[in-house]
């Protein structure tokens, strides 16, 4: 079952003769519950692709469908609500709110939506991520790896249809990167969560269930 699909997705900037094709006809399908890595060098279009998948940017052409709903047919208000409920994000620089505790950072997306936090689920998430002792602390007391684990918990708690991770290990040393990648894989497996990660690191990408290689705005390889 596909939770995410794109069809002939394009993103062009500028006009001829100076036309930049950031994405040039990307068609892909991602199965639910899988951990997918989109690998590409700087300038390959992977960040642009992630922004399209998350509804953070509007494509020039083609379509993006998340959980059976096409993002292009929604107005801004609907897209905001959709993103809040259906899509989780993990960023390279964690983006935790420094004045909130770890616990408050994690439950923020759910509370913003006016819903109640699933306490049992929260308990199991923090246990898997090894941050149960840190809940009352502020982010500045945590290491980079620990902060990223808090960010992962925040993305998981709302049980989104997909989690998009933008170079989640970009700011971490190789040892911590391995730990974070292992945890992403484990949470994908344990909580049956679909995770799509973009990275330039081939070694990290092998841990994913599926690797999609992107070059010059086009998909060049898709491997299981």
């Amino acid at each position: 079952m596909y939770i995410l699909r794109t069809k002939d997705l394009t993103k062009y900037y500028g006009e001829e003769p100076i036309l930049v094709k950031a994405l040039d006809g990307v068609t892909l399908e991602i199965e639910e519950g899988t951990f997918t890595a989109i690998v590409g060098t700087s300038g390959s279009g992977k960040s642009t692709l992630l922004h399209m998948l998350g509804g953070l940017d509007v494509p020039t052409g083609g379509s993006v469908e998340v959980d059976g709903q096409e993002l292009g047919t929604m107005d801004r208000g609907e897209l905001t609500v959709f993103r809040r409920r259906k899509i989780g994000f993990i960023f390279q620089n964690y983006n935790l709110l420094p004045n909130l505790t770890v616990y408050d950072n994690i439950v923020l997306p759910v509370e913003l939506d006016g819903r109640r936090v699933d306490r049992e689920y929260l308990k199991s998430i923090v246990k898997v991520l090894g941050i149960q002792e840190k809940l009352k602390q502020k982010p500045n007391k945590l290491s980079g790896g620990q902060q990223q684990r808090v960010a992962i918990a925040r993305a998981l708690i709302a049980k989104p249809a997909i989690i998009l991770a933008d170079e989640p290990t970009g700011n971490l040393d190789s040892h911590t990167s391995q730990e974070v990648i292992g945890l992403l894989k484990e949470t994908s497996r344990n909580f049956e969560q679909t995770i799509v990660m973009i990275t330039h690191d081939e070694a990290i990408a092998q841990v994913a269930d599926c690797t999609i290689r992107i070059e010059d705005g086009k998909i060049v390889e898709s491997r299981w």
């Binding site: 639910e32 609907e78 897209l79 409920r85 790896g145 249809a161 945890l183 894989k185 070694a203 092998q206």
Partner: protein, 331 residues
């Protein structure tokens, strides 16, 4: 004057009661509408789920009658929208479980087909040599040779069948992993013991760097097997006088077991292939093996919540990293 006061009080009372009744009717109407919307959506989801058995989820979604109405209800900042989207999530989870069951069935069929493919060769060899033995014109010397070959093929068949049963038990998770907190050094010693003779024969230097007191929660028997499988490959594909080293490092969330060799290496495009069932590189040639070792190793480590990574340079060597989660022993 008194009548006026009574009238005013009466009117006030009437307004209060009237107001209360009107509010009651209004809010009751709202709750009934909300409940109706949610129930209708639930029924629609059920219809859609039943329609799934005929076609894809996407087709069922589009063809469902209430689709347009439910679309209007989605992605709004309203209570109804929240409830409908939660129901949608529930339907998605249930549909996925159904799809998973289906793909598990297909996976079992695939395994059966792969197994029969592997068994075909020794079985047809045995038949062929048996047929030749039945030939009256065959000499005593030839008979002895054919019998020897049949025995070799039977040994191979036995090895294949045992390996396949072993692998399928792990596959079906019939093996219960006993996770205990024990020194990882002892587990690795077991694994190294299994390949020491082969390494010595090829004059390969074996180095182990592991703190003796480091305890990890793991299944000793199966983890030793996983490590031995990787070591076995390392020794097999490292030339004479090469090196194989084992290094253990404790991290915050994982303990890493690193196995490095100076062997022929693995091309990056095959990093994931080597862990697939029955995969053997074209250049493995005469080396004995079924192509299950790394597949099993990955299964074993994965069942313990860990994972294996590989990095390699063709012609220089490979580094396998097993990451086992640091967890508390479950009592």
């Amino acid at each position: 004057m008194e009548i006026s006061i009574a009238a005013v009080c009466g009117l006030c009372l009437l307004f209060c009661v009237g107001g209360f009744l009107a509010s009651y009717i209004y809010f009751r109407r709202k709750i009934v509408d909300f409940t109706d919307e949610v129930c209708e959506s639930a029924q629609e989801i059920l219809r859609q789920s039943q329609g799934l058995r005929k076609g894809s989820r996407e087709t069922a979604l589009r063809e469902s009658q209430g689709y347009a109405r439910r679309w209007q209800l989605k992605n709004q900042d309203t209570l109804t929208s929240k409830a409908v989207m939660e129901l949608d999530k529930l339907e998605r989870i249930l549909s996925r479980q159904a799809a998973q069951n289906q793909s598990e069935k297909e996976e079992v069929q695939k395994v059966v087909s792969e197994i029969s493919h592997q068994l075909k060769t020794p079985v047809s060899n045995i038949r062929m040599y048996q047929d030749m033995l039945d030939d009256e014109e065959v000499t005593e010397e030839e008979k002895k040779r054919f019998e020897k070959i049949i025995r070799q093929q039977l040994d191979k068949l036995e090895f294949l069948v045992e390996s396949l049963i072993h692998s399928s038990r792990l596959e079906q998770e019939m093996i219960h992993l006993t996770l205990v907190e024990k020194p990882i050094f002892q587990t690795l010693a077991k694994a190294v013991g299994g390949i020491a003779a082969a390494a010595e024969k090829k004059k390969i230097e074996l180095r182990v760097d592991c703190p003796k007191s480091l305890k990890v929660v793991h299944d000793v028997k199966w983890t030793a097997e996983a490590v031995e499988n990787i070591l076995d490959n390392a020794v097999k594909y490292t030339p004479e006088k090469g090196e194989v080293s084992l290094l253990v490092k404790e991290g915050e969330m994982y303990t890493k077991i690193q196995i490095e060799d100076t062997g022929k290496g693995i091309a990056p495009e095959h990093y994931n292939d080597i862990f697939k069932r029955f995969y053997r590189e074209k250049t493995s040639g005469q080396e004995e093996g079924l192509g299950l070792g790394l597949y099993l190793a990955r299964r074993i480590i994965s069942l313990q919540g860990g994972y294996i990574m590989v990095e390699s340079k063709l012609g220089k060597g490979s580094r396998f990293e097993i990451l086992l989660p640091n967890k508390k022993e479950e009592r």
